[in-house]
């Protein structure tokens, strides 16, 4: 009796399993376990990677784009561009024959052209544009954050397939900004049509782009469905369907990956990574993150106004120990403010050695032979560049203790932490940064530039004239090789002056099931499925 019942049960389970994973899968469908719900479906309003993964990456294009896996700029909706000699204007030649998606409410009557580019940018630039404000509470957050208002003077249509951007000042990172998500090109025709039909919200909620996948449906907090764009200008994707299964818990995402309920998962827990490496069904793809985690010394406060103290505390910290304990191997020691994946990284810079004896000597030389008491602020949350702020703070506290520096650990709620850091209240604090656009300027200026002391992004409040001159000159230089030389010098100054202890660049992992072919990790932490295929099982 017992055995028969057992048999019946297992048959039932097997049938149920078959029913779950069976027939309807003739088409190639990839399920991606994403970490959260998108905030909305218009890429211009938001700043989170979760929204970009779900919106701008699958459904939209930019004039220029990042080559997946690197931060190199490749042609997108513009076939080519030319910069004027003075660096004040950029002319884009647009790609011909690019089709916008269609949906139940909209079928485009024309191909992509200059009007769409003008529409997309003028909407963000001009508060009096008819589509500048279609929803209360929205702002063009990233456009503002990247200070585009003070960069772009005007956008003009030269002819139907040529657009000219005139800048207010020479700004070399401009072209990298144009590859960012907020610079996605939207359909002017769709906006006009929805406005005429009296439901302008549709324009923001049911996205129409030019990207490799078209929008099918969104079930709140559960699934987002896309299908291949048959008319994609870059060639139709190999997948027929792309589905985002929104799964907020990282352990559950891993469980789903193991059972095959999803094929790719976002953001594994560092503790799970070792297990994933040994899983025969999973390929663990990895890439160095475009980020840096650091301790900033507030140079406006004693004892950090003294360069020797900053250098001494650099030497007192055992970074290797931190990497093993906090990052569990998923990180690399940082010696520069920018990660090695970024062009202009100066590998010749020598890091401070771990040398408590020398640190002690330096402290004595600086006038603190009996040590000193400081505050150390630590991160209250997990960030991409730092999985565990408290643990890191504990380790640094004990390292500093050994050279006679007593650190009091302090933290606040995350929003409060950032708010206070801008006022300059901090002594020494743990912070970090994830790059936006793969341009070195995007690290040096917002984090260590003089204007960022006032803006609050420069939490070390360090303003060094030599450093500032170099990075400002690099901003105004168009040739990459010339800029790289300037940034390399800037890194030497930053090391010697030691406004930070550069701790680590984290390594990111994307666990992918074996049947997924051609998956490549992106440098800016997006998830691209355009060129991905599924092997037959």
């Amino acid at each position: 009796m017992k055995t028969t019942r057992g048999y019946a049960l297992s048959t039932l389970a097997a049938t149920a399993l078959l029913a779950c994973s069976g027939a309807a899968y003739a088409a190639k469908t990839l399920v991606y376990c994403s970490e959260g719900s998108p905030e909305g479906f218009n890429p211009q309003y938001y700043t989170t990677g979760t929204t970009f993964d779900a919106v701008s990456v699958p459904m939209f294009n930019r004039l220029v784009e990042f080559d997946t896996g690197t931060t190199n700029i490749v042609p997108g909706l513009a076939e080519s561009y030319t910069a004027s000699a003075d660096g004040l204007s950029y002319t884009f030649k647009l790609r011909k024959g690019v089709k916008f998606h269609s949906n139940a409410k909209f079928t485009p009557t024309r191909d992509f052209d200059a009007d769409d580019v003008l529409f997309s940018f003028q909407r963000m630039m001009d508060p009096n544009h008819p589509f500048a404000k279609t929803q209360a509470g929205t702002t063009y957050a990233y456009f503002d954050d990247m200070d585009m208002k003070n960069i772009i003077d005007k956008v003009e249509k030269v002819d139907a397939m040529t657009v000219k951007f005139t800048l207010k000042k020479p700004e070399a990172p401009f072209i990298a900004n144009m590859a960012m998500d907020f610079a996605s090109i939207l359909s002017a025709e769709y906006a006009e049509r929805m406005k005429a039909a009296g439901n302008v919200e549709t324009f923001d909620r049911e996205p129409i782009g030019t990207g490799p996948f078209t929008f099918v449906s969104y079930q709140k907090d559960a699934t987002i469905r896309y299908k291949a764009n048959d008319h994609y200008w870059g060639g139709r994707p190999k997948l027929d369907n792309l589905v985002f299964a929104i799964t907020t818990d990282a352990s559950v995402r891993y469980a789903k990956l193991k059972t095959g309920e999803c094929h790719v998962m976002a953001f594994p827990k560092p503790a799970d990574v070792a297990l994933m490496k040994n899983d025969p069904n999973i390929n663990l793809v990895q890439q160095n993150g475009l980020n840096v985690g650091y301790i900033a010394f507030n140079v406006e406060k004693k004892p950090f106004d003294n360069k020797l103290v900053r250098q001494a505390l650099n030497m007192a910290v055992n970074k290797k120990g931190i990497l093993d304990a906090v990052f569990q191997g998923a990180g690399a020691v940082a010696k520069n403010p920018i990660p090695p994946t970024l062009w202009s990284y100066n590998d010749k810079v020598a890091d401070y050695p771990y040398d408590p004896a020398k640190a002690k000597a330096l402290l004595a030389q600086a006038g603190y032979p009996n040590g000193v008491e400081v505050d150390l602020w630590y991160l209250p949350v997990t960030r991409p560049y730092n999985p565990d702020g408290k643990r890191m703070a504990d380790l640094i506290q004990s390292d500093w203790e050994k050279v006679g520096v007593k650190a009091k650990l302090v933290t606040f709620e995350w929003g409060e932490y950032r708010k206070r850091s801008k006022t300059g209240e901090q002594h020494s604090m743990m912070f970090g940064w994830s790059g936006d656009n793969g341009d070195p300027d995007n690290f040096f200026v917002p984090l260590l530039g003089c204007s960022a002391v006032k803006g609050g992004g420069n939490v070390a409040r360090w303003c060094n004239k030599d450093f500032e001159d170099l990075v400002q000159k690099a901003k105004a230089t168009t040739k990459q090789a010339d800029r790289a030389a300037l940034y390399e010098k800037a890194q030497v100054i930053a090391k010697d002056e030691a406004p930070w202890i550069t701790i680590a660049h984290s390594v990111r992992f994307d666990p992918v099931r074996k049947e997924v072919v051609g998956y490549k990790m992106d440098a800016t932490a997006h998830h691209y499925f355009t060129k991905v295929d599924m092997a037959d099982k």
């Binding site: 449906s217 709140k220 469905r225 940064w433």
Partner: protein, 335 residues
């Protein structure tokens, strides 16, 4: 009876005022605000910060904000989410059926197992049956939902492969939400596989969520049964020679159920609270998961509106239970 219902309704008004005040002040006591929560490492420039604060109406004095919140809530307007810019009411309604469906199944499970278990424990008092039921229910009651849910997933989904890990239905079924109840919508789609899939997705979350109410119901049934079994009329029924089944099932159970029903009413609150954790683990797109995210993002209107709606549901259910109880038991009405 009418005056009893009226009196009971009168109590609802101060409860509501209390809830709105509590929700309104608690979310504001948390450090950070909705605008600050929108920015990352970069922070936000003060100009945009002020503009957004103004647009969200957060630059006005607190009493004004509170007054507006209550005034609008009374008129059925819960405001717009600061994240999605959609009506909080619509956001709530879109997700509520998922929570009801899960809570209903969890409660069904709790009843189907909890009632008989409690009865058995009472009838076989001080035997191994009693001890196992009570031991198991104590364990179930003390089990952290979060840990229990993950354990269930590891056991039944990952190791045994019997049930899906999370979600409401397998990916290949794109069922448009007509009623919002996946079981009903999948039945209406006419695809048997879809219904089976929806059902199999309900098993683990229902167990995770139903465990605590199950334990409570089993314990309540047992103690209430024990009391009734000592009553004279039960002895009389036994003396008359009524079968054990008849004595327990008819004479005793009926009367023992009254306090149990009250307990069930109270468990609605437990279910909604438990749904917050259960939904987060099982990626169940209901209001629990939504509220957790809204709190994290300091989405004041969503938290205020969502909690108000959930509280209304709990108050409503308890009101109905109280009134029904008054119907069943006239003594309550005249107290």
């Amino acid at each position: 009876m009418f005056s009893f219902v009226l009196r009971r309704l009168g109590l609802v008004v101060p409860t509501f005022i209390g809830i709105t005040l509590l929700v309104f002040s608690l979310i504001r006591l948390l450090p950070g605000d909705p605008v600050e929560a929108l920015s990352g490492e970069r922070g936000m420039d003060p100009q945009r910060y002020q503009r957004l604060l103004h647009e969200f109406g957060l630059d006005r004095p607190l009493p004004v904000q509170y007054g507006e919140y209550v005034w609008k809530a009374v008129h059925g307007d819960l405001g717009l989410s600061t994240i999605t810019h959609e009506s909080v009411f619509r956001e709530f309604i879109a997700r509520f059926p998922a929570t009801i469906e899960l809570s209903f199944c969890a409660m069904l499970l709790a009843l189907v197992i909890g009632l008989p278990a409690g009865i058995i424990a009472a009838v076989k008092r001080n035997t191994v049956w009693d001890y196992s039921v009570m031991g198991a229910s104590l364990t179930g009651f003390s089990m952290p939902i979060f840990w229990w849910g993950l354990l269930l997933i590891l056991m039944f989904s990952v190791t045994l492969g019997w049930t899906p890990v999370s979600g409401r239905i397998a990916i290949q079924y794109d069922i448009p939400p007509i009623t919002g109840f996946m079981l009903i919508d999948s039945l209406m789609s006419g695809d048997k596989g879809a219904f089976r899939s929806a059902l199999s997705h309900l098993i683990l979350p229902s167990i995770a969520l139903g465990t605590i109410p199950l334990a409570v119901i089993a314990r309540m049934t047992r103690s209430s049964m024990l009391e009734v079994l000592r009553e004279d009329y039960v002895r009389t029924a036994r003396a008359k020679g009524a079968s054990a089944l008849r004595v327990v099932g008819l004479h005793a159970l009926r009367n023992a159920l009254i306090p149990v029903i009250t307990t069930i009413g109270l468990q609605v609150g437990t279910l909604l609270a438990g749904a917050i954790l259960t939904e987060s683990i099982f990626s169940w797109p209901g209001i629990g998961k939504w509220l957790v995210e809204a709190i994290g993002r300091r989405d004041y209107p969503a938290v205020q509106g969502g909690l108000l709606m959930s509280a209304s549901v709990i108050i409503g259910v308890n009101l109905i239970v109280d009134v029904l109880y008054g119907v069943i038991n006239p003594r309550i009405r005249h107290q």
